[in-house]
Symmetry: C2
Subunit: 403 residues, 2 copies
Amino acid sequence: MLIVQKFGGTSVGDLSRIQNVANRVAETKKAGHDVVVVVSAMSGETNKLVGYAEHFSSNPSRAEMDMLLSSGERVTASLLSIALNEMGFASVAMSGRKAGIVTDSIHTKARIEEINPDAMNSAIKEGKIIVVAGFQGVNENGDVTTLGRGGSDLSAVAIAGAIKADLCEIYTDVSGIYTTDPRIEPKAKKLDIISYDEMLELASLGAKVLQNRSVELAKKLNVNLVTRTSFSNEEGTLITKEENIMEKPLVSGIALDKDQARISLMGVADRPGIASEIFNKLAKAEVNIDMIIQNKGHDDTTNIDFTVPKGDLHDAKTVVHAFIKSGEIKDDSYNEKICKVSVVGVGMKSHAGVAAKAFSAMAAENININMISTSEIKVSMIIDEKYAELAVRSLHNAYELDK
Amino acid sequence: MLIVQKFGGTSVGDLSRIQNVANRVAETKKAGHDVVVVVSAMSGETNKLVGYAEHFSSNPSRAEMDMLLSSGERVTASLLSIALNEMGFASVAMSGRKAGIVTDSIHTKARIEEINPDAMNSAIKEGKIIVVAGFQGVNENGDVTTLGRGGSDLSAVAIAGAIKADLCEIYTDVSGIYTTDPRIEPKAKKLDIISYDEMLELASLGAKVLQNRSVELAKKLNVNLVTRTSFSNEEGTLITKEENIMEKPLVSGIALDKDQARISLMGVADRPGIASEIFNKLAKAEVNIDMIIQNKGHDDTTNIDFTVPKGDLHDAKTVVHAFIKSGEIKDDSYNEKICKVSVVGVGMKSHAGVAAKAFSAMAAENININMISTSEIKVSMIIDEKYAELAVRSLHNAYELDK
């Protein structure tokens, strides 16, 4: 097999951990596989460099930031390659440029545009282990760019797609994707396999092992993604396309998102286009809207309820207050003490009654459901924040996820 | 003027020193000059990275070492450019690659083959200050290379040549070139101007401010080199071609080299080619020969005396012992307690009696001269090591260098 292995900052956090990574990569090579390794900077390094830059400027020039920050990954890549060569495994370190990673020119937040895998393919043909500095590429002018948060994961997935790797393993300090947060429900079980779409729902709802950008890219490039830990040999979780999943579970996991605030608009003027006007203004203010409920009030007006991330609440209020001033909204109220629990599973597509079971579980605990939204593969409920953990445990139990 | 300013590791040793460098560069720009800055890694950084590599291997792969070590200069270049931009001076950081520095492929000891100054020239035309990461380039495959010890000086000189700079200033913690080592002769004076050839003689003989590679390159590219300190505004020493020096001093400086050992070969077989054979074998063993004296012994044999750096003595002995075993040399003796004092000056070319004055000065102090070698611009003498400092002071005084 051709395997891409990506090791994050904690996994390469010091010299002995880099040696551990070298040992693991060597084991994979000895087992007969070709390996391309993608590494992050040693943990703490990027923050140190950011601190240096902030010493000189509160708003450092972005092209310079990219040249600065990209050095951390180069150090790790060189060291790991040195370790592998010393162990007798022919290895070559590559910068993002050498690996052929071409991005757009949005410094510090670049997007990968294409990968020219020629250099990697010929090194693989020579039997070499490749160690790529993650998080970086070059734009069309040849200037170094970086990919922003989670950038090394993106490098790994994009490389796996470009060289048609059989597997892209993302090593972190977490052993995989769980049916829910084990800190809330100790009976949570690690999932062996999960579809891209389920992972996207779980990620956006709180399971922070992988950023959605990486999962989306894996889905687009059809890359088999595995998240696992670098601190043991425990098997991880395979994230793959739905067709590859033989036995589709009804429900794969329960996600919890506490970063939610509810905004209620009462007495919205009943004229065509008013809702679109409100949400356009909110979008312009870069407020992210999640759920929306609209219902007729007693008079000619309408009530609109929606949820936003807590951090967007201030901007949302500014927009709403303008409408109140102009008289098109009568009154508003805000509630930050809410949360969203979600039941996620591809099996829902073909099974009725999944949502009903969730509602029953909430009812059995006397938890009031404020808002509901559903998609093909998930049921989300807004409830009082104080019931968050209880709701997660009840749902986990109701769908027998500990079995 | 178009000025290249190179700052070494001590000058950029911490964040406040980098800010000082930014202030100095800004002053130069404000004075109406165009500036290209070349920086080393922050002092200690390169050693730290070498230490990391040695953790994994006693003989780390060299291409990886280059990728590893080149990161230090990239960090300094980015930070300095961030500082300059923050101060309102448009600035761009460039890696060796971006600056167009192309080298051969001898990793960790690459030689600059050519510089493509297009990117630098257009940034200069835009009025930008350029900050180049020193010590590095790329080979024809686009792999990062480093230039070895003193590499950032070489970068600066080569860049100055390529962009036809009026001046290349090398900033260190020393304020310039002195008539002799001020720790030996407190009356030593800083030289305002000195020729490339004199500097080459003084450098190889002990004045360690600039490596000979840099001076040779400056001579070849006709770059006006200035060494000065970054810790004050004191003027430094201009190193330039002899034709630019109006008043040629008889003697510019007195150099001392304690890293000398004398090898005496007694009773060398008197057959044609024997000397060539001995010195070829020594060259093959990479023993550097400095002075050589050959004279007839009492019988048919010859005595040969020569000097080598102390570090080469062991290898030299091995070669000599093989000739003794084969009977072609009768006896050998070694003396490590010697040193070489040299009087250097372009004025010697046109003045007689310079050497005689040196011999008189030695005689006046009862210092015995063991060996003598002369060139157009220098007189070197091997003497007993214990007289080293006395000899330097006497010569300094004899040529009135404190005046």
